[in-house]
């Protein structure tokens, strides 16, 4: 069985085996191999077995998929191939020597819960637990050097200011008194959309009275924002920027 190893520079981020089920690759969290980078499409590519051959298909992604340096649409893969997506690399190998991640095997010691019984990990157990995870692959959650706060720059539309710093946990776009990005005009909705800053300082935009678009795609579900993203909602156009 083939194995895919996701690497960023020299760090191994994740390993996944390709069995009878295909492995989808992309930025969306429901992919088999998630690459959380704005250069990667939500559903970027997939790897699957067909007639005993390992195949890779690019889903027409914006920034492309490269195998051994060549941009590809659909190719067969062999052990030793290197697949480049954005700045990430996926190495193809034979998984016979691969070790299963520990959570798929027997339960580790701190966590052999009776069925349905919730257990809690204290600080020490948690540290040991995360170290085991790190041994399998990831350098658990690389901490950002410092907190960066995003700014919304108004590119079009009728608002009370030309830019807004997203320092609050909640930023409402609308006519409501609680709105930060204040819309003007008679027919402006009270709360057109909202942006949440999460605990990890990532930003998500979601629909309220209107469904906003991010780079032209409707954000029906909360959508993560990245620098350079362009939001359109209720007649205004806002760009996400990070300032030093």
């Amino acid at each position: 069985m083939a194995k895919l190893t996701l690497k960023f520079e020299n760090a191994v981020l994740h390993e996944v085996a390709v069995g009878t089920k295909e492995v989808s690759i992309g930025r969306s969290p429901d992919n088999g191999l998630v690459i959380d980078n704005p250069a990667v499409s939500h559903y970027h590519a997939r790897v699957f077995n067909e007639d005993g051959r390992l195949m890779l298909e690019d889903f027409g992604s914006l920034n492309g998929t490269f195998v051994n340096g060549q941009r590809v649409k659909m190719v067969s893969l062999k052990p030793g191939d290197s697949v480049a997506i954005g700045k990430h690399t996926i190495l193809v190998s034979d998984s016979r020597e691969a070790t299963e991640p520990f959570w798929k095997g027997g339960a580790p010691k701190p966590a052999a819960p009776k069925i349905n019984e919730t257990v809690m990990l204290d600080t020490k157990e948690r540290r040991e637990f995360l170290q085991k995870v790190a041994a399998v692959g990831e350098s658990a959650q690389p901490a950002p050097a410092r907190v960066k706060v995003a700014t919304l720059v108004v590119r079009k539309g009728n608002t009370d200011k030309s830019e807004y710093t997203l320092s609050d946990k909640l930023t409402v776009i609308g006519k409501s008194p609680m709105a930060t990005v204040k819309l003007k005009g008679w027919f402006a909705p009270k709360a057109a959309a909202q942006i949440n800053r999460r605990e990890d300082n990532s930003y998500y935009i979601g629909a309220a009275d209107k469904v906003p678009t991010v780079n032209g795609a409707p954000a029906v579900h909360p959508t993560k924002l990245a620098a350079g993203d362009v939001i359109q909602v209720a007649g205004v156009e806002l760009e996400v920027v990070y300032r030093d």
């Binding site: 994740h14 998630v34 959570w103 966590a111 819960p113 600080t123 692959g137 990831e138 609680m178 605990e199």
Partner: protein, 259 residues
């Protein structure tokens, strides 16, 4: 604007005791839900102590209202609950190792401040769509978030019940606080995992969409979770933002919005 609410806690079909607990303090627009764990009956002690401490602490800080925001007050109250649970466990040897999850919401106008620790959740129903507002502090949920596990792997994992944060575990506790828009016609749901283990998001959304009266909706959700197996204690709090144009006008307004 007024908040309508309803709440219900039930032992379920498989457990001998109910370790879930909720407290409401409508005068502060404060609603708290906690799911306890620990040997003997200490889970019950932990969840009750947590919910009651959060309410008591918020009451105490209510007179300083305006100095610190609701999110900070909730986080402070949960830290106080953590201290209370740890003190209780130290004093009472039978209760050592007890802990609890907590999710608390304080509403001010159209703003809902939500604080949580563990895997009890807050959801918002808006235009028929149910959205989970809290992120579980469980091992599998964090693995999925970090891209180390797929949703499918998480669903099959035997580590689903491992919490990375809980009230009563350490002297230090990291409380996650978020601010959410709670607009006209939105419904907020707080629940313990006994509900979400049994019912899909789609089913929950359907029930909340069909039943206008929050207390009735809360009872119906518990009833359905019991019918689906009731493998754990089930607790729900349903909050509804009463539209400014109440009654018939509100209904027409909602009808125009298509929900």
């Amino acid at each position: 604007m007024e908040i309508e609410f309803g709440a219900r806690s039930d032992v379920g079909q498989a457990r001998g005791n109910n370790e879930d607990c909720f407290r409401t303090a409508p005068e502060m627009n404060l609603f708290v839900l906690s799911d306890g764990m620990g040997g003997q009956s200490s889970g019950e002690v932990a969840s009750r102590l947590t919910a009651e401490t959060v309410v008591a602490k918020c009451r105490e800080t209510a007179r300083y209202d305006g100095i610190s925001d609701a999110g900070a007050r909730l986080a402070d109250a949960i830290r106080a609950a953590n201290t209370a649970v740890r003190r209780e466990a130290r004093v009472n040897s039978g209760q050592s190792g007890m802990g609890a999850t907590v999710v608390a919401v304080m509403v001010s106008g159209e703003r809902a401040s939500i604080a949580h620790v563990g895997d009890s959740r807050a959801y918002r129903l808006r235009n028929g769509e149910l959205e989970q507002l809290t992120r579980d502090h469980s091992f599998v949920a964090e693995q999925v978030r970090n891209g180390l596990m797929s949703e499918a792997e998480a669903a099959q994992s035997n580590l689903q019940n491992v919490l990375m944060r809980a009230v009563g575990v350490d002297d230090e506790i990291q409380v996650e606080v978020s601010e959410e828009l709670f607009a006209d016609g939105d419904t907020l749901l707080l629940c313990s995992d006994g509900l979400t283990k049994e019912l899909t998001d789609a089913r929950i959304a359907e029930v909340l969409g069909e039943i206008d009266e929050p207390q009735e909706a809360a009872e119906r959700l518990v009833e359905l979770a019991n019918e689906a197996g009731g493998s754990d204690n089930i607790t729900v709090i349903v909050l509804r933002q009463e539209p400014r144009l109440a009654g018939a006008f509100g209904r027409i307004g909602r009808w125009f919005k298509g929900s």
